[in-house]
């Protein structure tokens, strides 16, 4: 009896040790965020994913704001239609934001407004300063009580799942769906958050930087007619279709994605990979494609053109996205991007 009890206790201790170990490791090593498009995300109609129906910021009458006597720069009220179809008006910048989205955290810190963020979710790891922000849940669960305790004046969500709970608790909730495609609109997002946070100038600078660098990449690539066939392995032969952020980047880089008939992220048939014979493979650390004998005859493997690129930053449409594009461009076209 005593022995058996010991076994159980030892077992429980071992399991919690393993769990703790793996949790810690996972946080360090898995550098992706919930803003990564999930397999189902692409099947959901996204009202703000296209420029036409995006969160268009409508300039409103500025006369009332102009009467501010504080001496601070004048805050231009921001009106927008959120992802739930509701009109949302900011007449002053939110001071205590729970930002449940990696891209928005990146953007606010980049324009010097990160001090407004008082809460975010577990997977936000960038920038380094964000590590000090209080965590109020993972991407799949949200702790309403701890959010209430923070007394935010704005909760920003990338998915509508917890909207009713939070609004029911009396919180002001803004929901804009995270981008799973349409990466060029990142510039518009930056400008929007600059206006919401009352720092449009810094946002304009950042957005212009994004646009200029993007235009530079595009102009260099005008000399490329049709780039090589490419396969992106997220691990386990999961691959992005053309309607994903990374799929769009592949297209921008004139790469011929062999998974052009895949929608969102899907696990592609190994037979199809062999038949379509990629000339370049862009793999995450989870990929074992380069050590798999069945793929040894692929042109990319024979030519040694397997590049490693983590899921980030090309899954978060934030401030690092353009850097991700440039890094990938340099890897694939070293002669064009010295």
């Amino acid at each position: 009896m005593k022995n058996r009890l010991l076994v159980v206790v030892a077992l429980a201790a071992l399991m919690s040790l393993v769990a703790g170990l793996a949790c810690g490791q996972a946080e360090v090593e898995l550098a992706q965020t919930p803003a990564a498009p999930e397999p189902t995300a692409t099947h959901v109609p996204e009202p703000t994913a296209t420029p036409e129906s995006g969160p268009i910021a409508v300039p409103t009458d500025t006369s009332e704001a102009a009467s501010s006597l504080t001496g601070d720069p004048v805050y231009e009220p921001v009106t927008l239609i959120d992802g739930a179809g509701q009109e949302f008006v900011f007449t002053e910048p939110p001071e205590r934001i729970v930002a449940y989205d990696s891209a928005v955290v990146e953007i606010l810190f980049a324009i010097g407004e990160g001090h407004r963020i008082i809460g975010t979710h577990d997977f936000v790891e960038f920038p380094a300063e964000a590590s000090e922000v209080t965590r109020v849940g993972s991407a799949f669960e949200i702790n309403v009580e701890s959010i209430l305790a923070l007394e935010p004046d704005l909760v920003f969500l990338f998915s509508p799942g917890f909207m009713d709970d939070l609004q029911g608790a009396g919180l002001r909730v803004l929901f804009l769906p995270s981008r799973s495609s349409g990466f060029e609109d990142t510039a518009a997002d930056i400008r929007l958050w600059g206006r919401i946070a009352g720092n449009p100038d810094a946002a304009e600078e950042l957005a212009l930087d994004f646009e200029t660098r993007l235009a530079a990449v595009k102009s260099v690539l005008t000399s490329v007619d049709a780039g090589p066939r490419v396969f992106r392995d997220e691990g386990g032969l999961w691959t992005p279709g053309p309607d994903t952020l990374i799929g769009e980047v592949l297209e921008l880089l004139k790469l011929d994605n062999i998974a052009s008939d895949v929608s969102g992220f899907e696990q592609i048939s190994p037979e199809v990979i062999v038949e379509r014979d990629p000339e370049i493979i862009i793999a995450t650390d989870f990929s074992t494609i380069d050590t798999d004998a069945a793929f040894a005859s692929l042109t990319a493997i024979k030519d040694g053109r397997v590049f490693r690129m983590p899921g980030e930053p090309l899954s978060v449409p934030g401030t690092r996205f353009i850097q991700g594009i440039e890094d990938l461009a340099r890897q694939i076209y070293p002669e064009l991007f010295p």
Binding site: V18, C23, Q267, P270, V274, D292, S297
Partner: protein, 346 residues
């Protein structure tokens, strides 16, 4: 004369098993002709024959066709057959051992133990093992560890009470499953490869996997089949079995150990594929009765054929994408199982 009646029965059983084996072979050959990439039938036949020892065929089939068939599709069919057979055989043995129609090969914690092993290796990353190489080893170890823990907890000085073992297995499964869920929820959406593994599939099946599990599968299957007669006696209850000269406690340990080992080997590469191990034995029992001398081998054949067909669906239905084979086994198996339940049992 009783002797000749017995001979007739034996012959009938042998014929049925031979027909079953032939059916699995036919299914395998037909499955080889279909895939995400269409390969002309004459090329398929030529590529297959060319590999036979002493046969050399001059053909001008494309090299990609040979790679697809020989390195991807054929080993995949073999693995699906092996795993399906192993799961069904282990399931039949567990149902017999526990005298419980709900028993399946995962009853004592194999699946959740394997899942936890896989999750830990996957999430701690390639520093510990290279993913791919390390994941099957960890899954195998996790599966066996879960069963060993359930066994150690349930064991009494005077034997192994099976009800306690089941309960211990349920508890170990719940614990391992909870830790796996915790790991996944604390991690992030790049878990797709792990999720595919947990749902089961043969996308990564290669010849070397078949070679690696055969040393477990062949002797394990032989042992389980050798216990068929003992399992028949065990259906009368432990006391009757003891009276009939069966070493009940040893039988429990051997069957539990061997069936778990087989299942762990199957799960290590293919992930957790549900339903096969539960349903195949029931199908056989409903149609042909519960004599384990027939039930065990026929379940293996039914499981093999069923999983080859299910994987055929997994690799073609959503082409160019793959579906998790566990979804297919449940979709195809559950309605058939329900239909079977409406029929009168034999």
């Amino acid at each position: 004369m009783p002797g000749s009646v017995y001979g007739v029965v034996r012959r009938r059983v042998a014929v049925r098993l031979a027909v079953g084996a032939a059916a699995v072979l036919v299914i395998a050959v037909l499955a080889a002709g279909v895939g995400a990439v269409a390969i002309p039938l004459d090329d398929t036949v030529a590529i297959a024959l060319d590999r036979l020892p002493g046969v050399s065929i001059d053909g001008d089939w494309p090299a990609s066709g040979e790679t697809i068939l020989w390195k991807l599709r054929f080993p995949r069919i073999v693995m699906a057959g092996l795993v399906g057979g192993v799961l069904a055989l282990s399931g039949a043995a567990f149902q017999g051992l526990f005298r419980n129609p709900l028993a399946d090969p995962y009853l004592v914690g194999v699946a959740s133990g394997a899942g936890l092993g896989a999750a830990v290796v996957f999430l701690t990353g390639s520093s510990l093992f290279a993913v791919g190489g390390g994941l099957p080893i960890a899954a195998f170890a996790g599966a066996l560890a879960a069963v060993a823990i359930a066994y150690l907890v349930a064991r009494r000085s005077d034997g192994l009470p099976l009800t306690t073992l089941i309960l211990a297995g349920v508890a170990v499964s719940a614990l391992a499953g909870a830790v796996t869920s915790l790991l996944m929820i604390r991690s992030d959406p790049s878990l797709r490869p792990l999720l595919s593994w947990l749902l089961g599939g043969f996308s990564g099946a290669r010849w070397n996997h078949a070679w690696l599990i055969l040393p477990y599968v062949v002797p394990g299957a032989v042992v389980l089949l050798a216990y068929a007669r003992v399992l028949n006696v065990m259906q009368l209850g432990d006391d009757h079995a003891r009276a009939a000269g069966v070493n009940v406690e040893r039988t429990k340990i051997v069957l539990l150990g061997v069936a778990s080992l087989l299942t762990a080997a199957a799960v290590a590469f293919s992930g957790v594929i549900g339903f096969v191990g539960l349903v195949a034995p029931h199908v056989v029992r409903r149609i042909w009765g519960a004599d384990h001398r027939f039930l065990l081998p026929m379940s293996a054949l039914v499981g093999a054929g069923f999983l080859i067909l299910a994987d055929l669906g997994a690799r073609t239905l959503a082409s160019p994408a793959e579906l998790p084979v566990g979804i297919i086994t449940a979709f195809a198996g559950a309605p058939f199982f329900l239909f079977l339940l409406t029929r009168k049992a034999r």
